[in-house]
Point group: C2
Chain length 202, copies 2
DNA sequence: GAAAGAAGTGAACCACCGTTCATAGCTTCC
DNA sequence: GGAAGCTATGAACGGTGGTTCACTTCTTTC
């Protein structure tokens, strides 16, 4: 044999791959899936279109990777908050707030993850992650029902409503174009969440 | 002059157009916007691909027409229920129930209207109609707040949550594939809606 | 330094799809 | 019946965008 990947080379390759995924994520967040052509992504990463295929077998595979990375981060953060300290109702409120705040802080990415038109492979991925968000919320709702803090209810539906509400607000900002008051919006959203779950009025 | 459209001819033309729109709606409901190519739609209507352009200047125009017809019906029905008799809370519950029931009865179409990936022109239309659904719900919520039946709240967000929740449930049926129990689902949804709006517990 | 092999390149390829257009078939009017 | 005008047709066109591939460039090994 006359060639073996040296550690430095391996590192260079994975770095290139990471760089590609990062740039692709940025492009998707900025212009959406439909406009994120292989050429556009490659340009953003400073490589040739053909080189993308050194790292991924197809555009769909790259897209799925981009989606999984970004959506995975959100699931992780949400999970930490929902499984953190505090009683179920508090955690639910904080979870909604964090989830929504992160989405509002990176609207483009959030839109891409939750709503923007995408190829079927990404659509399937989106479905899977929606289930995970929903499951996380539902878990806390069930907990609240068990401890008596919340009334009996279909937790899955409550959870669906929470993600749906945040998605709605993201897709079509109600307060006009400007972020007139993000904090107020977040406050309204958490209040909605507590009503949705049937938490006692404060 | 040697030619003028006779009434019968006019009727034939508009009928052909209607037939085209109807078939296109069916195709979209069955396979989604992305798979509803001009050829597929023309085939379904039993005409040549080129003939579509006798009735519509572009595929986008046909798509928009299909969307407007279908979404317009829903707005109308929802409006009638929400503006009908009964106190605001009752109307809200009935509105959610009717909206969701119709969606569940024609899942394919509902999915196309609310969620399925679509070309930009349809996306814009969708945004406009979402605002209308939302406005209708918000109106009733405001009414309820005014009469004291509901607590003070951001009605727009409550309305967004309601449409979002129904959309969520549609996109990813929670109870597995089967309609295990549509009535139970509807009951859970209306219960959710009332909690969302903060209606007194029954 | 030279051979061997991998990564990078970008122009060309190809499939798909909306759209057009020359042609054929019908309808209207005299 | 025939001229004029409209509608219907479907093969051909053109743009787009993912993918390929012969070739260049860089890295490793001896």
């Amino acid at each position: 044999m006359a060639y073996r990947k040296t550690p430095a080379e391996i590192h260079r390759l994975t770095a290139a791959r990471e760089h590609l995924v990062g740039c692709a994520t940025r492009v998707v967040a900025e212009v959406g899936w439909s406009q994120a052509s292989v050429t556009a992504v490659a340009d953003a990463a400073g490589i040739a279109a053909g080189s993308v295929y050194q790292h991924f077998p197809s555009k769909a595979a790259l897209a799925v990777e981009v989606f999984r990375r970004a959506a995975g981060r959100e699931v992780e953060v949400l999970g930490e908050v929902l499984h953190g300290p505090g009683d179920p109702v508090e955690r639910l409120a904080r979870g909604v707030e964090v989830f929504a705040r992160r989405a509002l802080e990176n609207r483009g990415l959030a839109h891409a993850l939750l709503a923007a038109p995408a190829e079927p492979a990404v659509g399937a991925e989106r479905l899977a992650f929606r289930r995970r968000y929903r499951a996380l919320f539902a878990e806390v709702v069930h907990e609240g029902v068990a401890t008596g803090a919340l009334p009996a209810q279909n937790g899955e539906i409550t959870a669906a409503a929470l993600t749906g509400a945040i998605g709605e607000v993201l897709v079509d900002p109600l307060g006009g174009p400007g972020d007139a008051d993000t904090d107020a919006l977040l406050a309204d959203l958490t209040a909605l969440a507590l009503r949705c779950a049937g938490a006692p009025r404060s």
